[in-house]
Symmetry: C2
Subunit: 280 residues, 2 copies
């Protein structure tokens, strides 16, 4: 699938014939942020939450962002491209050699659209088998939580399996704490309580993770989690903007079933998404 | 200064009007490597050592590289651009969305040339004042040593000072070990012995660091280093391809002088560079 692409609001056919100048720091240093957003019926799903995280990333990295222009870009894209995945990259501007950022240089907005069918019914989501990644996540509080462009750890982790039966890879940090899956967050249920790993040291604070924690009718405890916590759980599930809430049924030789908590949360998510869609 | 740019051997005026497609994974994930090489009188200085490190990075990240094509690219650039800094970016190929790399997709070679005067006389190099960075380096053995494109830690560290009197920033890792400066490696002399931090957990193994360790007439001990080791040193110096060997005279309120070891090493480096140039 070829991406359709926009750079600062201007369409770029097949991601070709653009300028690399605006993306110089993104290429050289990964000096920027991204969002991956589901677009359904011309509606960018959970857009306000995606933009909140993007703004928080810009604040943390001191990257200037033209909110109004980005909003305009997005509207132009989704009004013409009504079903698929919208990827937004915000790259710090600056073309001089060297790490030093030019203060107030602002940023460039690169939008890519990947046409594909998007899941509408979250209760239908299939269950996931997880690979336990050998690649660990490093601990870096300055970058934890935000969705920045330094993603080599994920690239290395994703290269560990090719079996299409495996939906995701579980990642620990260098201290052996459970953090997240390669492109999803992870939750588990133990004795009726719901837990998710703390992301103070590493990991991406996913938008769907936030929905589960703040907008559904459950209390989620953030804690330092070990593999033993997972192995002792009654239910395990992963979350992401694209997959919603997906029950995990296997990690290595350990098995779980899709349980009552996941079924309830999937139904609540369905209602929440419907409402946010209707409100739009 | 505008960069002159080549993408897979083809010149791209002012880093503009190229394709971003080949650089998709570099932009999205920092999925690639780079080298920064001094070019003097049409000669890429220490080229074989730069290419060895680049190949090692490609091996570690499983990125295919067309050696012969890269060598041809470089020769074409330096024969026409005889004095300045050559930056080489090798980016893993692949345009599909998602972290998964396409096996055997190979890579794209992006070359940038920045015309500027290059130091020929290494004994003339001025002394350096260092800032002690608050930003720490995360520990990630999978990425330690290689010069990959995930450089947000360096961007954040470099944003901590704007005083042009300060040449470099010293970086510790998240455990408080001394690792390197933002764009250089660091050495120190204590009781006549020369030490440099081990780079097993993080840091870039610089080409000039390798020259000091392997090609000059001294023995260098790699060890875990603390700030106290530096504070107790008689001499401190930093190394990089562009600056050579540069004595450090200040870090915060601690002062050192340019000492006998640095003076000797600078002279040895001068001879080594002259020989490698003459051999070319």
């Amino acid at each position: 699938v070829n991406a359709l692409t926009w750079l600062d609001g201007k369409p770029v056919a097949n991601f070709v014939a653009s300028s690399t100048d605006p993306l110089n720091r993104a290429i050289a240093y990964g000096d920027g942020l991204f969002e991956t957003i589901a677009v359904v019926e011309g509606h960018a799903r959970l857009l306000s939450l995606h933009l909140e995280r993007l703004r928080e990333g810009c604040r943390r990295l001191a990257i200037g962002l033209d909110d109004a222009a980005l909003y305009r870009d997005i509207n132009n894209v989704v009004s013409a491209n009504r079903e698929g995945v919208l990827k937004i990259i915000v790259a710090r501007a600056g073309t001089e050699r060297g790490y030093r950022a030019q203060i107030a240089a602002g940023s460039y907005r690169l939008l890519q659209f990947f046409p594909q069918m998007i899941t509408r019914n979250f209760s239908e989501s299939s269950s996931a088998i997880l690979h336990l990644c050998r690649q660990r996540l490093s601990r870096q509080p300055a970058l934890a939580g935000i969705k920045h462009l330094n993603r080599l750890e994920q690239v290395l982790a994703r290269s560990e399996w090719s079996d299409s039966e495996i939906a995701e890879g579980l990642m620990l940090d260098t201290q052996g704490q459970v953090i997240e899956a390669v492109s999803s967050n992870i939750f588990f249920v133990r004795d009726g309580e719901v837990f998710t790993p703390s992301l103070q040291q590493c990991g991406v604070a996913g938008v769907m993770r936030r929905v589960v924690m703040e907008y559904l009718q459950i209390i989620v405890h953030e804690k330092n989690c070990t593999l033993d916590d997972l192995y002792g759980a009654q239910e395990v599930f992963i979350t992401s903007s694209l997959r919603g809430i997906q029950p995990v049924v296997q990690l290595g030789c350990v098995h779980w079933s899709r349980g009552d908590v996941v079924i309830t949360l999937q139904q609540q998510l369905q209602n929440f998404i419907f409402q946010s869609f209707a409100l739009k």
